[in-house]
């Protein structure tokens, strides 16, 4: 039997006139998972969310919620609630009236509405604000009311459209933890739209990375970060060095030639790359190390690269220092070293250094 997903998109396309906002997207979101749609603005993530909510209808493709095809079902007929980017609290209603709205529309008995409103307010710890108007609340409080207003209806799926975008950094961090804890507590599937990669990595069970209307990769945070599927993902999530290379061999070993002519091995090669192609070698700055020329072992370890260069730039960022090193052909790479060695002599600009990394951390991606 095939698994029933909380939300499933099959080859969904959304066009606005000539603009293709979502381009043949297929996604399977599991029941109870915290799923993020991550990408830069204009990548189609919000349009995807709005199609799940029912505010936009797909141009083509199919959308299922808990196995049920949605078709042209309007938003009020979908077992889904949304937390809007600007919260969209009704300004003419009190906090309690806002939270009661969804249940009222579903004709829930009055005393049950009252009880559940009280519970929802307690859940977001704003019980004393029941009779305030939204304008009298701070941004963080409004955010929590928007959350309570959606969750009180016990939706099968909760959609969140950059809900923390308007909050300041410290509050955002606190709310990230709170949101994640809440999601685990209520066990409802969360579909979370954000452009903040750190936010997505912190909270999500799985992430779909999007740009220009397509999904580049779906995976858990570690997979997305450690094993980016293509150059866009590697570039968008965290920091990466892209070293231009020429592919020498793919099997049995992946070997590429750097601009300096040196040959190094790599751990993974993107599909569609052939021997002789120009490509990039993607390595995270923290996966690299620097050695003094004299420290390079006489018999180099297998699958470890050693490339000579000169330190050109140092930036101290607290926990670590970013060392920019120019390789022999002028290619610049950033090496991030943690500041944990007391008393060790720091690197200096102009100094000769050998950049080293393990082949397992090097991925050959299309240019």
């Amino acid at each position: 039997m095939t698994e029933t997903y909380a939300v499933e998109l099959q080859d969904v396309v959304k066009q606005f006139g000539d603009v293709v906002a979502v381009n043949h997207v297929s996604l399977q979101i599991r029941d109870g998972e915290f799923f993020s749609l991550l990408g830069p603005s204009g990548c189609g993530k919000t349009t995807t969310l709005r199609m799940i909510a029912g505010f936009e209808m797909p141009t083509s493709g199919a959308l299922y919620i808990h196995g049920e095809r949605q078709g042209y079902r309007p938003p009020n007929k979908r077992p889904i609630n949304t937390v809007f980017q600007n919260y969209a609290l009704f300004p003419h209603m009190t906090v309690a009236e806002n939270i009661a709205f969804g249940m009222e529309m579903q004709k829930t008995p009055k005393d049950e509405v009252k009880r559940r409103v009280a519970e929802a307010l307690a859940m977001v710890r704003l019980s004393n604000m029941a009779n305030r108007k939204p304008k009298q609340l701070s941004g963080g409080q409004q955010q929590r009311i928007a959350l309570a207003r959606a969750l009180v209806n016990r939706p099968k799926v909760l959609l969140l459209d950059e809900p923390l975008g308007a909050l300041d950094l410290k509050l955002r961090k606190a709310m990230q933890i709170e949101l994640k804890a809440l999601q685990e507590e209520v066990g409802i599937t969360f579909v979370y739209v954000t452009h903040d990669q750190e936010e997505a990595l912190t909270m999500s069970d799985r992430i779909a990375v999007m740009s220009n209307g397509i999904v580049h990769q779906v995976g858990d945070p570690e997979t997305i970060y450690e094993h980016p599927a293509d150059r866009f993902v590697a570039d968008f999530i965290g920091e990466t060095n892209f070293i231009p290379v020429k592919v020498i061999s793919i099997s049995p070993e992946i070997v590429v030639a750097l601009g300096t002519g040196e040959k190094v091995t790599a751990g993974w090669v993107e599909e569609g790359i052939a021997v002789g192609d120009q490509a990039v070698l993607s390595i995270r700055p923290e996966k690299m190390d620097l050695l003094e020329p004299g420290e390079v072992p006489a018999t180099p370890a297998e699958n470890v690269a050693y490339v000579k260069g000169n330190v050109t730039h140092l930036v101290y960022v607290g926990t670590d220092t970013r060392h920019t090193v120019a390789l022999g052909d002028g290619t610049k790479v950033v090496v991030r070293l943690q500041n944990i060695y007391i008393g060790e002599e720091p690197w200096e600009i102009g100094e000769e250094a050998v950049v080293t990394w393990n082949a397992a951390h090097a991925r050959v991606l299309k240019e």
């Binding site: 505010f55 009020n76 969209a88 003419h92 709205f101 969804g102 209806n153």
Partner: protein, 287 residues
């Protein structure tokens, strides 16, 4: 100058002084004159005799005039309701149009104002007149009706003329309120299981009430005091209080009685406005 610069509140008062003095002289003073005149006896050839009397006020409530009073209220209320009924959907349509088209539509709404109101009202006479009006002549020529419809010289004609004249004034404030309305509030209502009708009555309508109140006031007050429209479209038979007042000043030369009518009308308008505000405030809280 140095003193002025050091006291910004003094600057504010100086700037305010001009409009305040203007209003005092040209608005408050005439109002005061009207108030005083309504308690004086009429002069032989216009003007007043400086003798105190309550006769003018008493005469306002004479059934002969009071009936016109009530009828004017009735006409003004019906006019306001019809302009609201027509104006709200129109304002809604403009507010929901793409932003690029909205200004053009608002502009189109204002085009009638380019032509003098008197001329536009006479144009209606051409259309509505009983035996020679375009509508009746056409309908009779086509054989749809056998005798002319009573389109002219009655309350229908007056209300039609007033609705026509004041419709844009109703649309603009409602449009302003609807245009400000955040679209995501409606999406939130739909998301929270409201049908599109429910979303309208629970979100759009209550949030547009300030526009409805402003528009209704802007239509009701001038409709109540109207005298050009009833004078022309009422055909000399159907009159409103504005006609009687203008007649007291221009025809009967009874300034004190005209003033008394004006005073009572102003007070009635004030009371009606206060009741209306109170009522809308309550219904706003109820939703």
């Amino acid at each position: 100058m140095e003193r002025l610069r050091r006291h910004p509140e003094l600057q504010a008062w100086l700037i305010l002084a001009i409009p305040v003095i203007f209003l005092l002289i040209f608005f408050m003073a005439p109002l005061l004159i009207v108030f005083v005149y309504s308690f004086l006896e009429r002069g032989k050839y216009g003007g007043v005799e400086w003798v105190f009397t309550l006769d003018n006020i008493r005469r306002v409530f004479d059934p002969l005039y009071f009936k016109t009073f009530l009828r004017s209220f009735y006409i003004a209320i019906v006019t306001t309701l019809i302009t609201l009924g027509l104006g709200y959907p129109l304002a809604y349509f403009i507010a929901k149009s793409p932003p690029s088209r909205r200004n053009a539509l608002v502009f189109a709404l204002m085009i009638p104002f380019w032509t003098n109101f008197l001329i536009r009202t006479y144009a209606w006479v051409m259309l509505l007149r009983t035996h020679t009006g375009l509508i009746n002549v056409t309908l009779m020529n086509w054989g749809i009706i056998s005798k002319p419809l009573p389109l002219y010289g009655n309350d229908f004609a007056i209300i039609l003329g007033l609705v026509y004249g004041w419709l844009p004034v109703m649309v603009l404030p409602i449009y302003a309120a609807l245009e400000r309305l955040d679209e995501s509030l409606l999406e939130a209502a739909r998301d929270l299981y409201a049908s599109s009708g429910k979303a309208f009555w629970r979100v759009t309508w209550p949030l547009s009430i300030p526009g409805v109140v402003a528009g209704s006031m802007l239509v009701f007050i001038p409709s109540l005091g109207a005298f050009v429209t009833p004078a022309i479209l009422g055909g000399g038979k159907s009159l409103m209080i504005g006609n009687i007042i203008s007649n007291q000043f221009l025809g009967a030369h009874d300034w004190p009685f005209g003033s008394a009518l004006s005073m009572v009308m102003m007070i009635a308008m004030l009371i009606a406005t206060l009741i209306y505000f109170r009522w809308t405030k309550k219904s706003e809280l109820a939703t």
